[in-house]
């Protein structure tokens, strides 16, 4: 018979388990084993990739969205964003009854009409970690009660097995790497099946089991100098190039690939056109479409683990010649690499509007802390991050920053 210990600050004793019965409590996220990639769909639907559960969950967040339109995001004239939350892991930990170092943030997404930020992540670093999704309301975090919000669910048709990947990592860590919604469908990038093929799943929403299709994608990997089918897409977005909806995808180590959506047919095995090699020894983090408010052009920003971010115009993506294949190693950067942007260290990025992006990033002055911070587009540069001559009192002020009072948000 089990015994539980009664405890106090000064006394401990054992009591028979037969005397004890605790209330049954549902898990805060009964239906989900993990909360990873986020993407907004139509009518307040938020898609959440549940990699460990092998499914995509659709949440109706209509009742939890609150307008943030009157919340100041920074001051563009002085290149100053704001720290919406200065110590993100600590504040999440307070709400999740966990130390800050037991919190991981997995993704960020923004409800475009309300400009509200949503975060996904996990509480705990071990195999028993629990998922969470949180909202940010004018700098205040709220953990969502997920089960009542679940309105639909798509179980992956051939979830990755338990065996290890090419390099030993558990395949299911890569079952869902990114999700994008476009015109009534979601596009789920990741790995499927025991053979770990890189698969792009195309699923109509609302979900119907017989309306899902899968496409195997083969790419020429310039660094590895070979055709590859197993490397998963890490980050993707969908843009229209001359009216043609096109998937722009980035793989690890780090090919940039262009694929018209029309090519993504059920059961097809296609070759994506590699238009850039963004450099060896690196993994992409995010690819984010945005409109350059300075000239109205459409662009994507690609952030990385180990390299400077790339800002690439969509028109250039459409015109880019495919890189040569069946040739020797090319370690890059090569091909269409765009304009280098100083957006290093960003763990997750999403656009709030045309002027501001939101980043989950280490505090530049205290890297042990993770902050939720706005960053000015299209420069993706925050002046307060840097120590330069013009910041000193009495030094030259070539850009006229001092005519503005100190930013007090």
């Amino acid at each position: 018979m089990l015994n539980f210990e009664w405890k106090s600050t000064l006394a401990v004793a054992a009591v028979s388990a037969s005397l004890l019965s605790f209330s049954s409590v549902a898990s805060p996220a009964t239906e989900m084993k993990s909360a990873g990639a986020l993407s907004f769909g139509p009518e307040n639907v938020l898609f959440v990739g549940d990699t460990f559960g092998g499914k995509v969950v659709a949440l109706d967040v209509s009742d939890v969205v609150t307008s943030q339109l009157d919340y100041a995001l920074g001051r563009a004239e002085t290149f100053e964003g704001r720290a919406i939350i200065a110590d993100l892991r600590a504040e999440l930990g307070t709400l999740l009854a966990a130390p800050a170092d037991q919190i991981i943030v997995n993704d960020v997404a923004v409800h475009s009409e309300a400009k509200q930020i949503f975060l996904s992540g996990q509480r705990g670093l071990g195999p028993d970690a629990l998922p969470f999704v949180a909202t940010v309301d004018k700098g205040v975090l709220t953990i969502l009660d997920l089960p009542p919000l679940v309105v639909d669910m798509h179980v992956l048709q051939s979830p990755a097995g338990d065996a290890d990947l090419e390099f030993g990592q558990p395949a299911r860590n890569y079952a869902i790497t990114d999700i994008d919604y476009y015109d009534g469908e979601i596009f789920i990038a990741g790995v499927s099946g025991e053979s770990f093929n890189s698969t792009l799943r195309r699923v109509a929403f609302p979900f119907e089991e017989d309306r899902a299709s899968e496409t195997q994608i083969e790419i020429w990997h310039a660094v590895h100098a070979q055709w590859e089918t197993r490397a998963p897409i890490i980050a993707q977005t969908i843009v229209e190039i001359d009216g043609v909806p096109t998937l722009i995808a980035v793989y690890a180590c780090t090919p940039l690939v262009r694929i018209p959506l029309a090519d993504l047919k059920d059961g097809a095995q296609i070759r994506g056109e590699m238009i850039a090699e963004l450099g060896y020894g690196n993994s992409p983090v995010d690819i984010v479409p945005f409109v350059n408010s300075m000239d109205g052009s459409q662009n994507v920003l690609i952030t990385h683990t180990n390299r400077t971010a790339n800002q690439i115009p969509v028109t250039a993506i459409g015109k880019a010649e495919p890189m040569p294949v069946e040739v020797g190693n090319n370690f890059g950067p090569a091909g269409l690499t765009g304009f280098p942007v100083p957006a290093n260290g960003i763990q997750h990025l999403a656009m709030i509007d045309e002027v501001w992006a939101v980043a989950v990033r280490p505090d530049p002055h205290d890297p042990g802390k993770l902050q939720l911070h706005t960053i000015l587009a299209p420069f993706f540069f925050d002046r307060a991050d840097h120590m330069v001559e013009m910041n000193w009192p009495g030094s030259p002020d070539p850009f006229g920053y001092r005519k503005f009072p100190p930013l007090d948000l």
Binding site: F4, E5, W6, K7, S8, T9, L10, A11, A13, V15, L19, L20, S21, F22, S23, V25, P28, T94, L95, L96, A97, A98, P99, D101, Q102, I104, G124, L125, G126, P127, D128, L130, D162, A163, D164, E166, F167, G168, Q169, P170, S195, V223, H224, A225, Q226, W227, E228, T229, R230, A252, Y280, G281, N282, S283, T305, N306, E326, G328, N329, F331
Partner: protein, 340 residues
């Protein structure tokens, strides 16, 4: 309610009034979400990390005989110190609560390294590091190093993938050498050279301070040593393996250091009735064994090798990992090694 009355009776028998005078008694449910306190019903209750200014609300349940049940949305984390703050109309009460680890929980430690104390090729692509307890994610780059025989770190030896390669139970870490330093003529290989030299002795050092999933730190550095032989840059040749039957077991000995996890999942024994016997056990010398109790030798048709098999250097049954341009190819077909 009846159960709480039972608990009250047990408390009285065990402690009488003395326990109440010395401190508040509490007990935590096995799922670490419910707390029963020997305390009157509060207006509200909050769970905080010890010393924190804020916390998360606890659901206040029934109360009888001076016992109150509180429920947390989130389980208390093992090894973490908490406070329960009870708000009453006239006062606030703070009770220290924790969820200690079971007494028999192993301390964090390095359980072993694949190919430990054996010879691995100089172009080894991956090794596996086993831990005594589930480990926390997010630390490998800082705490796991390759060192030479003098204990000096060999820098930039491992691939920075941006993700750590843990098994599902987070006890096994895949150590992946940077392929760019292993492949001839590749940029990192040209500029930095290969991380391992034939004839050398190297170690995988896990530095003190790496934490397990419960937050406990490794108390000291731990190094697992291995010897390095010549690089192996040729495809796996199953016909070079030796097969023996002895003592109720079938043993396949490889001609090279095989990737331990790949071997376990990619090599099986096919029987004449169509059954497949997956590899039973990986021996310390790197060989695979199957228990064949009840299986007639005549029934054993072939050792079948799936195309996923790779050796420690990443070579497959189709091509070497370090293939020349145009010569690399992805394996799609299994290979059978007949036994009769």
């Amino acid at each position: 309610m009846r159960l709480l009355a039972h608990i009250g009776l047990a408390l009285t028998l065990l402690f009488g009034n003395q326990a109440k005078a010395e401190g508040t008694l509490w007990v935590l449910s096995p799922d670490r979400r419910s707390i029963v306190l020997e305390a009157p019903l509060p207006i509200s209750a909050e769970l905080r990390l010890a010393g924190a200014a804020e916390g998360t609300e606890l659901e206040v349940g029934e109360s009888t005989n001076g016992l109150t049940e509180l429920t947390s949305k989130w389980p208390l984390m093992l090894g973490t110190a908490y406070e329960v703050r009870l708000q009453r109309s006239d006062a606030e009460q703070i009770i220290a609560i924790d969820a200690p680890l079971a007494a028999d929980t192993p301390m964090p430690g390095v359980a072993g390294l694949s190919h430990q104390n054996s010879v691995v090729p100089a172009n080894a692509l991956r090794l596996y590091l086993d831990f005594a307890t589930p480990m926390a994610r997010g630390q490998a780059a800082e705490f796991v190093q390759l060192v030479d025989q003098d204990g000096q770190e060999v820098v930039n030896a491992f691939l920075n993938l941006g993700v750590e390669l843990w098994s599902d139970d987070q006890r096994r870490l895949t150590i992946l050498f940077d392929p760019g330093r292993l492949k001839h003529g590749v940029g990192p290989n040209v500029t930095l050279g290969a991380p391992l030299t034939p004839g050398g002795r190297y170690g995988i050092r896990v530095k003190r301070g790496i934490r397990d999933a419960m937050g406990r730190a490794l108390s000291g550095d731990d190094v697992k040593w291995f010897d390095v032989g010549e690089a192996v840059r040729k495809a796996i040749e199953p016909e070079a393996w030796s097969v023996a039957v002895k003592g109720g077991a079938l043993r396949v000995s490889f001609d090279r250091a095989m990737d331990a996890q790949a071997a376990l999942r990619s090599v099986y024994l096919r029987l004449s009735d169509g059954r497949r016997l997956p590899a039973g056990k990986l021996q310390s010398d790197g060989s695979l064994t199957w228990s064949i109790e009840g299986v007639d030798v005549e029934e054993m048709l072939a050792i079948v090798v799936n195309p996923d098999l790779e050796d420690t250097a990443g070579n497959t049954i189709c091509a070497p990992f370090d293939a020349q341009v145009g010569q690399g190819k992805i394996c799609t077909e299994s290979v059978a090694l007949p036994l009769n």
